[in-house]
Each structure stands twice: as C-alpha cells, then as structure tokens.
Symmetry: C2
Subunit: 355 residues, 2 copies
C-alpha cells in the first residue's frame, strides 16, 4: 500500500481563519452545532480518558495543559491565565489546541483556541441550562460584561431562545460595549445600575466576572426561587462569585467533580457536599431541575472534554471550508527510519537550487 | 505605555525551516552549541519545575505531553510513539513543541521537534559521555542504525572527537544507509557482522534499537572493563536493550530517577538499586567515572528539561535567522476585553473589502 501523500502537513486554523470560519457559518449556527457536539461528548462521558489539567503556577498566573482522549482521537489545549496581562495590552487568557489520531499519534488539526474557548464555554453553559433552567426562560441577567459575555448571550439565544438581557458590570464602559456589540442581533437589552437591579424579573443569571479573588457578585437576597445560576467566572482556586448561602440553597451541577472541588464555587463548601454531574443529567441517570421553585446552579470551570468537542467540531467543518493553512509540522522522510538522510538530501537540493 | 505590536504573532519553525536552520549553522556546530544549553540546564536542575510526562496509552502506542519550566520560560513537547507507524509510511516518533513566557503565558516559539528531538537526544548522550567515558575515547560501536544513529555519531564527534565508528544492525540495509549518510563527514567506519563483532576495540557503545520489547542487544560477555554504555533505545515500559548482569556490573547514571525507574534499563532492577543523577555529576556533587576499568552506563530515556534546552537554543538562534514563519496564533483584539467585538469588526472589514 503506498503511503498517503503529504504526511508532513497538519491543517492550522489561525485567529483570522477562526473568525472567517465562525462568520461564514454564522455565530448562532456555529454555537448551535457546537452545542450538539458538546452534548454528544457529555453523553458518552465514560468513554473518555479523563485527567485533571496539568497546571504550572507562577507569581503572575497559570499555564495549563488539558488533555483528553475518547480512544479514537486525542486532544489537548494549552491555555494561560494571567490577570495582569491587560496592563500590557495582552489578553488574560489565550489558548491553542491540537487534535490527533490515537492510532498513529499524528496530529490532524492545530488551531487557535482563544476564540474557540469562548465559544465552547458559552455552548457548555447553554447545554447545561437546557437541562436545568425553567422551561420557557427568556430573560437572563449577565453580571460581568467582559470577553465572555456576548458569547454567553448568543449561545443562550441560539439554544434556548433567550432574547431579553439585563446587563451589569462594575465598569459601565464594559456594559456599554457589550450592549453595542449585541444591539444589532435582536436582543432586548437593559443596562442596569447594580447587580440587584439586573436580577429583577430574570429566570437565568450568568455570572462572568474576571477578578481573581473571592468576590461575592451574587448575595443571598438577590436570588429568588426558580432561578438558574450559570456561574462561569469562578474557575480557579481563590476565585468565586456566588455567596456560600446561595450554594446551600441550590442544587449544584458540575462538569468533573475532582476539578470543580478545587476550582469552582464549591471550593467554599466541604468536600462531601453533594453535587450532580452534568453528564448524568444529560444521559438521564440523574435528575436535572425537578421543581419550578428550585434554584439550580451550574458551577462551570471548563473541562478538557469540552475543548475536545470544539476541536472535533472545527475539524469536521474544515472539510467544507478553506479557512485553514497547511503547516509543515511533521518530518516525513522518504524512508521512515532515515531522518538524517532527509537532512542531507535537503542540503543537496539547496545546493542545486538556481542562485 | 503603548502595547507591543503584533501580539498575535508566534514564530513557527516548520520541518523545512528546521532543516535550513540546522544546515546553515552546520550540524556539528548546532550539536556543540546545543550541548552547551543542555549542560547549562542540567547544571541548574533544581531551578526546574519537574513533573513526570503525561502519557495517554493506547493499543497502538503512546501520546505524551512533556512540560517543564525554569520560572522564566515554560516549555512543553507533544510526542507520540507508535512502532507500527512505519507500515503505513509514517514515523514511529513525531513531535512538536512550544516555549512560552511564564510572566505573561504568551507563547514565544512553536516548532517541529521530530528533528530537534533527535538532535537533543544525541546532544544529551554526548554531554553524559563527556563526564562518564574514558578520556581520549575515539572509537564507538553503534548497535541499532536507525533514525537516531547518525545524530549520535555527529554529537560524539563534535563534543568528544569520536571519529571511528563500528556499526551493527539486525537489518544490514540500515547499517549500509547509516554508513552512506556518514561517509562524507570524516569518520572511519566499520560495518560489522554481529553486535559482538561491533564491540571489538571500542571504548563507547551506543545502543539505539527501535523494537518495543525486552530485547537483549548487549549480553554480559560483550562488555569489557572501561566501557561506557550509552543506552538510548530502552525508553519505555517493557523496552530494554542491556542484559541485567551488565547493569549489576555498571555504575548507572540517569536523568530523572522517577521516570527512568519506569522507562529505562533499570526497570529490570529493584526500585532501590542505587543510581546517580547526571545533574549531580555535572555540578560536581557526585562523581562520574572514577577508574579506567569501571563500566559506566547512561540509561537515557529523555527528559523534559532536554527539550526545554533545545527550545531555548532554537529560540535564541532565530534572532539571527529567517528560518521561521509568523503564525497568527493569538487573538489580539484592539481592546483586551472585547473578543466578540473583534469578530464583529472582522465581519465589517470583510463586507467592506472590494469584491
């Protein structure tokens, strides 16, 4: 059997390619389809090789590798978290990732994941809310109007029909920017003067603030019966957003308990506090929302399988897209064992090239 | 302070770029300089954040992530090992890696590492032999004449002046290819009919066979006093090359004991068998070779700090080279918190572009 051609090439999706891909598919369609992939992978949770992320902490932030595999494909994401980066004009979080065939170990996709992570986080929140929020919920508060806020809004609109937003941020310019970014897309948008004010009349609240500290964005009096809390911003040790008393009144749902106990809102609770796993709700093993008056809380920290779903989705989309470059990433000598010979022959070709 | 320009760009060294870089520097100079970086990093061993590699095993092979950091820079390598790959015209091992600033988490280099790993493995072997082989050793047997063999030969020539090689492989075509690849570079080369034959008159033996099994390439009678054994091929569980009796007669040197106990030749020995760490020899804490009649054995399995040294070296070389491409890897919105706005403005630019 002849060897496949171009074994050295790995498709690479740059930031510009990713924007082209998202816009050509359409943000809402992209999120809807991504929700399907995320939900599919949660539904086959037990087939994944799950390990906690591999973190390297420093004074200024954290660098993490998040690998997982379903036995056919292997994916990992490189992601950093550096709150002070904004001072030098950099992003707090940047990411890239890779998907490979388990059978050969050969990469099949390399891609930017800063934008893709924002999309997969929003898609995961929407999938969780589909199972946990009150039926017919159409009004959502978004507290924290930074980089994640618009993606959350679009995912909830695409999957659940949420079209009324109540925005609040301690920085009014962030709220204004979020409003302007969303105004052309069919939302009714209220900008609110306080978090309390933002909570009036909503069925869902998304908290997505950025400060790395135990802030209390939501206090107990602000959360009435029937609310679904989509807690996105509490995602590392020492960073939480929801008052402990609310946690005690809520049914709490998580992605991967060993990771959420360390990074999520539930780091405020004893290790034995009961939580439910999202994959069990999706597969029907556990109940989601059981009463209209119940408070549900999705304690989202982000897990490797969600990145895997996103990588898998992008790879599938590339077959009908030109939004990628071919990267000469893998050595492919004419004779597999002759790596050094490839080098020598390259030199001969260079010497023979016309000057 | 204005933000630095082009925050989205990460330099990428493709396979072709790497070949250009190595050839423009010269293979021997590249290896000599790389040896300096490898030795420097072993000398500051205690400043590294060391974790065992993160491995994902499957029926056909293994995929690994190898991260490490010195507090200023963070590096990791993706590497696979799939013995059956050669049947489909693929490499058994391919790799790529990345270097990032710890302070910001921003990547500063993405590079192919299939060729670079071969070079760093050879450089590490030469550095170890500098401290462990008999002074004035100029003759080396190479048993296993596959992809790693020529790199080993060049590194030992560059650093130690080894210029007489005795080659043996169970596959004579591999030996012939190795001989042809090396013949123009000033070596005296003997092709040998057996491993025993290859060992005649040598001061150093490099074992670098590829089969994933407990093979015994070197048996006890083949190793006389004063030999330095550079055991490169025993590098994963179930794969060894050197007979246990030789290990018992040798002073054994390793990179990182927790990893070598699992992957190296010493997986054949009890966990408490004494070994010496290379970094302690390099820093003078422990002795290297203490007698001309001693048998020394470097049980090389490859460690993340060596990849880090190689990444650091390549990055330093790029400042005076054009052997790289600029990769649009990181989202860099005009306003750090406005990731979604970047997407919207990209659409506006696309719409405004002339058709």
């Amino acid at each position: 059997m002849p060897a496949p051609q171009n074994l050295n090439i790995v498709p690479f999706v740059s930031v510009e390619n990713m924007m082209d891909l998202v816009l050509s598919i359409g943000v809402e369609t992209f999120l809807l389809e991504l929700c399907t992939y995320v939900e599919e992978d949660f539904a086959r949770w037990e087939s994944f090789d799950k390990t906690p992320r591999v973190a390297s902490h420093s004074h200024d932030g954290v660098i993490e590798l998040m690998p997982t595999s379903d036995g056919n494909l292997y994916g990992f994401k490189y992601v950093n978290g550096h709150p002070k980066n904004t001072k030098s004009g950099r992003q707090t979080v940047t990411a890239f990732g890779m998907l490979a065939e388990v059978e050969s170990g050969y990469p099949v996709l390399l891609t930017e994941m800063t934008i893709l992570t924002a999309l997969r986080t929003a898609a995961t929140s929407a999938v969780a809310a589909k199972h946990l929020a009150s039926k017919g919920a159409r009004t959502m508060a978004i507290i924290g109007n930074g980089a994640q806020s618009e993606f959350q809004a679009f995912a909830f609109k695409a999957l659940l029909g949420v079209d009324h937003l109540r925005l609040y941020d301690i920085d009014p310019t962030a709220t204004e920017r979020c409003r302007k970014n969303l105004e052309a897309f069919g939302f009714k948008i209220d900008t609110c003067r306080s978090a309390e004010n933002a909570m009036e009349g909503v069925q869902i609240v998304t908290t997505a603030t950025a400060d790395k500290q135990c802030a209390t964005i939501l206090t107990d009096n602000m959360v009435g019966p029937g609310i679904h809390i989509n807690a996105v911003g509490g995602d590392c040790p020492g960073k939480t957003e929801v008052h402990r008393d609310i946690l005690l009144r809520s049914e709490i749902f998580v992605e991967y308990p060993p990771q959420t106990r360390i990074e999520g809102e539930i780091q405020q609770l004893p290790a034995e506090h009961p939580v439910r796993e999202l994959w069990k709700v999706i597969t029907g093993v556990d109940a989601g929302r059981v009463a209209e008056t119940q408070i549900t809380l999705f304690d989202s920290v982000g897990f490797a399988t969600e990145d895997f779903s996103a990588l898998r989705y992008v790879r599938d989309k590339l077959s009908a897209s030109s939004s990628f470059q071919n990267l000469d990433l893998l050595a492919d000598p004419d004779e597999p064992r002759d790596l050094f010979g490839m080098l020598i022959r390259h030199q001969a070709r260079m010497a023979a090239a016309p000057i």
